[in-house]
């Protein structure tokens, strides 16, 4: 059996710092935050995506993922999250390969829109101040974000997701130790 790499060195304070980075990312969509914690999740999982799941996922949050058994074993051990094969039943959806369709994820209901899933989308890179033009709550005028390796039809798929508001899916974009968020309230235009 292969050795599991460790999770957070300090489970309390590392999770807090990581959560604050995600909260900041979610509050100011398109602004890129850095995850300071040093963890070495199994490939292909990047630091930011691994840290986000360590901070937020647990036994209460069914997790769907498109990676191999090494990542699943790591997350099962450190988070205790039940891994589900039903993408529509997952609270967190981890995508390291080709992104699943946003429409396949749980979008919540009109009365309980908070049940909409969070998609953790691992991408090749995040660059601030160029690319997509983001507007909406959390953004004073407009933010710009270029997502390297984003799915080709993402902007039109996002428009359909955004039209469902208040239902919908929220996205955490992760690349290396960088993280940016797209809450369902944000509007994206090709830049």
């Amino acid at each position: 059996m292969k050795q599991l790499t460790p999770g957070f060195a300090d489970p309390v304070l590392d999770a807090q710092a990581c959560f604050r980075a995600i909260l900041e990312a979610m509050s100011r969509p398109g602004r890129i935050q850095r995850i300071a914690a040093h963890i070495t999740p199994p490939a292909p999982l990047c630091t930011a995506a691994g840290a986000a799941l360590l901070s937020l996922a647990d036994a209460d949050t069914p997790l769907w993922l498109d990676t191999d058994e090494a990542v699943a074993a790591w997350l099962r051990f450190h988070c205790g999250a039940p891994i589900t094969g039903d993408i529509g039943a997952a609270r967190f959806v981890l995508s390291c390969g080709p992104a699943p369709s946003l429409a396949a994820l749980d979008i919540g209901t009109d009365e309980d829109p908070q049940l909409g899933a969070t998609l953790i989308l691992q991408v090749a890179g995040l660059i601030a101040d160029e690319g997509w033009r983001l507007t909406g709550p959390g953004i004073q005028h407009e933010h710009h974000l270029r997502v390297l390796g984003a799915p080709a039809d993402f902007v039109s798929a996002w428009a359909r997701n955004q039209a469902l508001f208040p239902r919908g899916v929220d996205v955490l974009l992760c690349a290396g130790d960088s993280i940016a968020a797209l809450p369902r309230s944000v509007m994206i235009a090709e830049g």
């Binding site: 309390v12 509050s27 100011r28 969070t118 959390g138």
Partner: protein, 283 residues
């Protein structure tokens, strides 16, 4: 130095994760109330248990905490919450609005404009703005789902019909991002305009009612009104008896048994800063 035997910031990690997930969804759906499993806290309901749980879940060792109760840093509620977090999280506290990274508040927004590096946490007694109009939670949830807020407009209209004006001086209902009707917690209506396009993140915690909601930075927050009866923030038409401010929100004090009244700033830090400023200029 933190109290032995407690986790950092009192709550256990599973509870913090649950609250953190609720906070993230609250930010993604501005103004929508998210149910959460509020824990029993070492102080009674009504003393800010919701706000404390939100603060405990976001707080880190680098944060500087300010706690106000009706604008004052030195009232019982504020002092005990500040001491609680000093003991269980060992963090720094302050009275100065500008130095705080997290401000927990009961029923006021500080006079000094908040910045992007600050988070404002409200203690909320009743998160449901429609509570007095529709007692069934199942029904209000449906009204929020349909964005059907006619009841509240009728309530405000009835005030105008009977009294000639909207007789709501605090907990004045707001529309967030033009979608959800939200209770701003019992802040004075005077403070409502400060919520609009605020640079800081605003989080709301209701412990007894077990709800969390949020207003992200730079989000539209509109006080409900009518074209012919526009919203007017209410303020006593006096100057502060101590610092002389004519723009801050004032508390009325009874000074004797012969009808004597004095008005002073509700925000004690703002008042003290203004008192210190002329002295500093003179020196």
């Amino acid at each position: 130095m933190t109290e032995a035997g407690y986790n950092f910031a009192y709550l256990d990690e599973a509870t913090k994760r649950m609250i953190r997930r609720a906070i993230l969804k609250a930010v993604a759906i501005p103004g929508h109330q998210i149910p959460f499993g509020a824990r029993e806290m070492p102080l009674p309901y009504g003393w800010g248990t919701g706000g404390i749980q939100v603060t405990a879940s976001i707080l880190g060792p680098a944060d500087v905490l300010k706690v106000i109760d009706q604008g004052a840093d030195d009232t019982t509620n504020a002092v005990s919450i500040r001491r609680f977090f000093t003991r269980v999280a060992g963090i720094a506290t302050t009275d100065a609005t500008g130095e705080a990274s997290i401000i927990q508040t009961r029923h006021r927004i500080p006079e000094k404009p908040l910045t992007e590096n600050q988070i404002l946490v409200y203690q909320v007694p009743q998160p449901e703005p429609l509570f007095r109009l529709e007692p069934h939670r199942a029904e209000t949830r449906r009204l929020h789902a349909l964005a059907d807020y006619g009841l509240m407009h009728v309530r405000l209209y009835e005030d105008i019909a009977r009294l000639g004006h909207i007789a709501k001086a605090y907990d004045y209902p707001v529309m967030v991002n033009e979608r959800y009707l939200m209770s701003p917690s019992p802040i004075p209506a005077f403070d409502n305009p400060k919520m609009h396009q605020m640079a800081a993140l605003q989080l709301f915690g209701a412990g007894r009612e077990k709800r969390i909601y949020a207003v992200p930075p730079y989000t539209a927050v509109r006080s409900l009104d009518f074209e012919d009866h526009p919203f007017r923030p209410i303020r006593a038409p006096q100057a502060c008896a101590i610092c002389g401010s004519t723009t801050s929100y004032l508390d009325e004090l009874v000074t004797d048994d012969a009808g004597g009244r004095a008005f002073i700033c509700s925000d004690t830090d703002y008042c003290q800063e203004r008192q210190a400023a002329p002295k500093a200029a003179a020196e």
